[in-house]
Structure formats: structure tokens, C-alpha cells
């Protein structure tokens, strides 16, 4: 099972906020967490996560500071209270959206099955 390119478009910021809940991390670690938590399904061009991180920081959803991690200077991001609120909104939106999709696709599958049995 794999995703199609662009399928996740529009959800990256929510996904980043979600992986930030487990603790502060730098950009490279964000990618690793996203790949790990998706079971390896998501394999994105890694550079694209940085514009999203910067936008989230600008929006006040993330805070960041330079830290030296493993002898390398990195920008470490952490989720803010506003970011948690935003994440809650994203989750709610996703719940509604995915529920509606499941309902439609599920109903279609049921009809197809019923048609096949008839």
C-alpha cells in the first residue's frame, strides 16, 4: 500500500504538529518521526518540510531555538499552546473528512457487493 504524490498535500502542517507532540526535535528528526509513524508509507522530498516548519513558526504554532545536538548545530522546534489548539482543530477536521470519505467509499463498496450478489 502506498500513497499517490500530492495525496497528503494540505495535511503536512497537521502531520508535523502531530509528531511534535512527543517532544521538541529538529527538521531531520521530524522527517524520521513522520516516516516511522506512517510505517514507512510516507517518503517525501525531505527539504519540503522546512518551509512548513517556518510557516508554522511564523503562525505561532511552533517555537524554535538553536541547539547543539550530536556535535552539530541544529534548529530545534517545539510545539506551542497555540500549536496544540491548531492540532486539535486539524484532527477534528480530519476526523470529519475521513469519516465522510469512509462513509461514501464504504457505501459504494456495499452497493457494488450487493450488485455483484444479485
Amino acid at each position: 500500500m502506498s500513497t499517490e504524490p500530492g495525496q497528503i498535500q494540505g495535511h503536512l502542517e497537521g502531520l508535523i504538529l502531530a509528531v511534535m507532540v512527543s517532544g521538541p526535535c529538529h527538521g531531520y528528526e521530524v522527517i524520521r518521526r513522520l516516516t516511522a509513524s506512517s510505517g514507512g508509507v510516507f517518503d517525501l522530498p525531505e527539504g519540503t518540510v522546512y518551509p512548513a516548519l517556518h510557516r508554522l513558526e511564523k503562525a505561532g504554532a511552533l517555537a524554535s531555538a538553536w541547539q547543539t545536538v550530536d556535535a552539530r548545530k541544529r534548529r530545534v522546534y517545539s510545539i506551542t499552546d497555540a500549536g496544540r489548539v491548531r492540532l486539535g482543530e486539524r484532527r477534528e477536521r480530519w476526523r470529519l473528512f475521513s469519516g465522510a470519505i469512509s462513509q461514501v467509499l464504504g457505501a459504494g463498496a456495499g452497493t457494488a457487493e450487493a450488485g455483484g450478489q444479485a
Binding site: 525531505e46 548545530k73 541544529r74
Partner: protein, 271 residues
């Protein structure tokens, strides 16, 4: 000498990213650390080309750089690009409308003089005395809006006139009279500063003599109408520019939300 993949990627990104100063340095430092982490990770997995692998995973530097474009800046640029041609079209359109309006106003200002001058020229050519084509009441060119008539003989002397300015019968430059020739010469004549006349000069040739008929009237009302037309045109021009700017902003906002700088971001490839 060819650059290593990481330096080449960062150079390409530097060239494309729309950031300046501290923001640019910060992003570059983050991406450098990321590429080195990725190269280290690839080396640990015994990749043949760890730096190349890190760069490949990072993605197209152009796509990453485009992600940093400010939506507001893009909106402003797109709106400006849409507005400029519209502004040029509006300016040309309003300018042409004003020019046509002014031309019509100015042309209409000559109509009574043309009729009077041509009629007078016919009468003079048929032998009527100059005094007969000039009405009795004096017209003060500095104050009156009435039409004045002056008949000038072939020597350039005033044969009859009801026009008066500062106690004298004013005449346009002799060249303006000569230019009438066998045709009609219409000129804007300014006998003194602040006194502008729409003048029509027609020559006549008859058995009893030849000369020119000069008929003129004040341009004051016409110029007042021209000023009003100019004010209306300027107002219409500004309103059109404003409306075009609003429409350009709406179109730019629509464009940036559907095909803006972050289009294709993030592009997730199948695992």
C-alpha cells in the same frame, strides 16, 4: 572543479530561495545540518554515494526554495502583473475618451462663427458693404460671450468691426488672415492673456473688392466644459484604476490559492 553534491544542492538553493539576510542564513544552516545528517545516515547504511543519497532525498532545490516564497509577496507581484496592463488599457481608454470629448467640444465651438463668416463672405462677394455684415452692438472681447465680426480689406486694414478690446479693434496675426486663402481657417486666438477666442476666418473675392471676414467668440464656456470633462475623466480614471486593482487582487488571491508558489508542496512520493 566540480562541487560535491551537497555544496551543489545548497548553491542551487541559495540562488533560488527568496529570502535575505538572517532568514536566508538560518534556513541554509538548517538544510546544511539536515544534509549532513542524511549523508551520515546513508553512510551508516553503506550507501555507495552518501552525499548523493542525501541530496536525492532532500528533493529538488527549486521546489524547496519555492516553498519559502511569501504568499503575501507573491500575491502582490501577481496582482501588480495583472493590474499593470489593465491600468495601461484604462489610461489609454480614458485618455482617448477625453481627447474625443475635448475635440467635439472645441469643434462645436466653431459652428456659429463658421455659419456667420461664410454667409458674410457670400454677401461681401456679392457687393454688400462691410458695414452691412457687422451688427450694430459692440462686443467687448474681454467680457462678452457674443459673436463678433470683423471685415478686413485686402490691405489688412479693418473695413468694419463690432469687436473691441481695450478700446481698439483687435486683429489676429496677419499670417492667420492670409492662411484663410480660398478656404476657411479656424484658429484659437488669444488677443491678450486670459482672453481666448474661437475664431473662423473666411476670405471673399467680389467685384467690389476682396478681403477676409473674421468671426470669433469667447471660449470661456467651452473651456469651463473642458475643465469639467477633465475632472470627470480624472475621476473616472482613478475609479477605474482602483476597481482594476481590486479585481487584480481578487484574481491574484484566487491564483495563489489554487496555483500559487507552494503548488506541489509537499510532494510525497509513494514509499
Amino acid at each position: 572543479m566540480s562541487q560535491d553534491p551537497i555544496t551543489a544542492w545548497l548553491t542551487a538553493f541559495d540562488r533560488l530561495v527568496p529570502l535575505r539576510g538572517r532568514a536566508r542564513r538560518r534556513v541554509r544552516a538548517e538544510l546544511t545540518a539536515h544534509l549532513m545528517d542524511a549523508a551520515d545516515a546513508a553512510a551508516q547504511k553503506n550507501a555507495a554515494d552518501p552525499a548523493g543519497e542525501a541530496v536525492r532525498r532532500m528533493g529538488d532545490p527549486a521546489v524547496v526554495a519555492r516553498g519559502f516564497e511569501s504568499r503575501r509577496r507573491t500575491l502582490a507581484v501577481v496582482a501588480l502583473l495583472l493590474w499593470l496592463p489593465a491600468a495601461v488599457a484604462v489610461t489609454v481608454g480614458v485618455g482617448a475618451a477625453y481627447a474625443i470629448g475635448q475635440h467635439v467640444l472645441r469643434s462645436d465651438a466653431n459652428d456659429p462663427q463658421t455659419q456667420i463668416a461664410e454667409d458674410a463672405a457670400v454677401q461681401l462677394a456679392q457687393g454688400a458693404p462691410p458695414r452691412a455684415v457687422v451688427s450694430g452692438s459692440t462686443v467687448d472681447l474681454a467680457r462678452s460671450l457674443a459673436t463678433s465680426v470683423t471685415v478686413v480689406d485686402r490691405n489688412g486694414d479693418v473695413a468694419a468691426s463690432n469687436a473691441l478690446l481695450n478700446g481698439h479693434v483687435p486683429l489676429p496675426p496677419s499670417g492667420a488672415l492670409r492662411a484663410a486663402g480660398d478656404a476657411t481657417n479656424t484658429v484659437t486666438w488669444q488677443p491678450q492673456p486670459g482672453v481666448r477666442q474661437a475664431a473662423v476666418i473666411v476670405s471673399y473675392h467680389g467685384e467690389s473688392g476682396a478681403g477676409t471676414v473674421l468671426v470669433s467668440r469667447s471660449l470661456r464656456l467651452v473651456e469651463e466644459r473642458e475643465d469639467a470633462l477633465l475632472r470627470l475623466s480624472a475621476l473616472g480614471w482613478l475609479a477605474s484604476l482602483f476597481a482594476a486593482a481590486v479585481l487584480a487582487l481578487i484574481a491574484a488571491a484566487y491564483w495563489t490559492s489554487t496555483r500559487g508558489p507552494r503548488r506541489g508542496l509537499p510532494v510525497w512520493a509513494p514509499a
